[in-house]
């Protein structure tokens, strides 16, 4: 038993260490675009992610208790899924530059989760349900997708405001558009001109994808998270129906999740409008993630209710 527990803790240490070193490497890559930093950070992200899933499995195997029934376990899955979703999206969109932020947030979530580790606890009767194996991973995965969307939104906003400053300084506001295929997602001429003139910030901004491309990635991440949180709310309602007799009880966790769902629903509706797509929807994405944090942690910790499983 102790040997298993040691394996569990060892895997956790490997994950946290991988995330911290990986985050540093990929943050440095974000600023320098040195390929060796990416080549160091990405494998570390993979190692940390695999170690985390292994740790959750080992914990389940040795205790026989589904490991996601407390904040320690669910934050662990949150960190692992954030990294996993990021890895898939980064591979798909060549977006490794964002990895430092994702890994740093994953490491913080994991380290915070460890502070909630009270050891092995049998599940209370309401949590002894097959729904725990369906509802919890889905909801946590939706939060992870929203974390990835948040990171790309922050990068979008950084680039947007930096570009706006450069454009304001040069007095240019125009979108690029040249070539065989009109390049609708290119950088602004002001940015290109500033970079050509040796402006270091502009040169660095040019290493990032265009705002339109960042916006598409944010949309894709929200498009993962919104159906997941919808399914999560539905499965949670089905579980509540089975456990308490009502699929909706206006419990703080339920209603906070509903608020989160509404914000991302608003995001998707706004994204259909040209005038709102981009800057405004990315602010909505940032606000949405703040609400995710409140729903996930704030409600569990500060507000008592049916979901107050703090340990």
């Amino acid at each position: 038993m102790n040997g298993h527990l040691q394996a569990d803790e060892l895997l956790m240490i490997v994950a946290i260490a991988s995330y911290i070193v990986g985050a540093l490497a990929l943050l440095a890559y974000f600023f320098t675009h040195e390929a060796w930093l990416r080549n160091l950070g990405v494998p570390l992200a993979v190692v940390g992610c695999v170690a985390q899933f292994a740790q959750l499995f080992v914990r389940w195997e040795l205790t026989g208790i589904w490991p996601l029934l407390n904040l320690y376990g669910s934050l662990s899955l949150f960190a692992a899924m954030s990294v996993a979703i990021f890895l898939v999206m980064a591979w798909r969109y060549k977006a490794w530059y964002a990895g430092g932020f994702v890994l740093a947030l994953a490491a913080i979530a994991l380290a915070y989760g460890v502070t909630w580790n009270e050891g092995t606890m049998p599940a209370v009767p309401s949590l002894q349900s097959y729904w725990a194996k369906i509802h919890v991973p889905i909801v946590v995965s939706s939060y992870a997708a929203f974390l990835v969307a948040f990171v790309f939104s922050v990068i979008y906003l950084i680039k947007y405001y930096a570009e706006a400053r450069i454009a304001a300084a040069s007095g240019t506001v125009e979108l690029a558009g040249t070539g065989m295929t009109m390049k609708i997602s290119g950088d602004t001429p002001a940015l290109a001109a500033a970079a050509a003139n040796g402006n270091a910030t502009a040169q660095w901004l040019q290493t990032l994808p265009s705002l339109a491309q960042l916006d598409v990635i944010v949309y894709r991440a929200v498009a993962i998270g919104l159906p997941l949180i919808s399914i999560g709310i539905i499965t949670g309602a089905a579980w509540a129906k089975e456990a308490w007799g009502a699929y909706w009880q206006w419990d703080p966790k339920e209603t906070a999740a509903l608020s989160t769902w509404i914000v991302y629903l608003a995001f998707m509706h706004l994204h259909t409008r040209n005038a709102w797509r981009g800057l405004r929807t990315n602010w909505v994405s940032v606000a949405g993630f703040m609400l995710v944090i409140f729903t996930y942690l704030g409600v569990n910790i500060w507000i008592s209710g049916l979901h107050s499983y703090k340990v």
Binding site: M121, T181, Q213, V216, A256, I262
Partner: protein, 448 residues
Amino acid sequence: MVQKLDDYYADFVRTFGSVLFAVSLFVVWGLLTLIGVIVDQGKDPSIYFGSYPAPIARAILRLSFDNIYHSPWYVGIIGLILLSLTVCTFKRVIPARLPPLRPVTIDRIPLHASFELNGDESSVRARVESFFRKRGWQLRERTFDGTEWTFADKFNWARRGVLVAHIGFVIIAAGTTLYWARGFSGDTVVVTGQSVEIPQTKMILHLDNFAYTITPVMTKGGMVYQPTDYVSHVTVTGNDGVPKAMTVRVNHPIDVDKTLYYQASYGFAMRFHVAHNGTDVPALSQRVLLEGESFDVPGTRLAVSYDRFVPTVDRASGMPSADPRVNDPAVILSVANGGVDEGSALVPLHTWVDLGGGWRIVPDRCLLYSGFQYRYDPGIPLVGIGALVLVAGLLISFYFLPARLYARVDPGPGGRCTVGMAATTVKGYDMFESQFRGLVAEFSAEAQ
């Protein structure tokens, strides 16, 4: 008059059919929901005055924020959202079918490309059509002013995704309404060995016994007494009049005549031996009190309240212990005289308490009781179907991007043709840019 009504109707449709108006309603809905998360719901007004400054507490009560989910604001905003959803569905979603086949100015569409290819017009057109057909695009040709256009569509059916999601939302609302109209719910408490009749169904619920399991666990923060099982063994007599033995656990409700019964709570009922001048008072001694219940002492202004059962008293401190297992039980009794609280005491079981005037009571026997919730909800299948339809609509909307490609072939000099190509989608150009680039690159390589 008619003109004025028409104007009002047009204004109504314009407002409620606007996406930004719908989003504004979402924002209000989200804010009201958040208020309900932050402000405790359904509490006594004194709780709010105790928790907030008086002006805020007054505002909470006056604006019904203490019961926000049933307030006119909340019901109203959901009603407005359903109205907006309906208008949007008919004004925007249903009309957004296949866009008409008409020529476009290719260069003015941001996603466009052109190629010079060898071959006559018909062979080049055949190559264009073959290229798209192989990739699953649905092709249509039309001639406008002597120029033949090729229109290629992909995932056109996915334009219905938003409609499907809206329909799912409406089905959920219908299921919820069905419960309000036809369903019922309630809760009841049964003491071991006793029966209750459920008023709505006339079902008889007899509690044979109730058991719970508490597992002490040593954690890093100290000893935790974790409940791990609550189980009620009951005998139910439904519409068929046949008693049936059944077991109710958390997460395992029982179904009797389509009404579900859930394990909800438990506690300790108490029988007190009440004596006056040494003589038993059967009317009081045979009563079983639940926690929170009280009885009046005859001929006096005294009322005795059974506040709480204490499973284990800490022998060292004489105070209630954290251990919820029944080891050294006691009860907390409080006494009021003429409605004025006289204080409370922790009284071990089988210990006499002298109330004065010759009255003495002793907590004599504890009995477990089990709390049940019951619910008949004919709307559940509809809500389930609506939820599935809603998710299907979201998935269709997010993962299948309907796109339209426009292609025209213009003959040029020297046996060559110019192929112009442009693309539009329902989600803007950025979303399709990389795919369009890929198509252009493939076509360029394949058609040369």
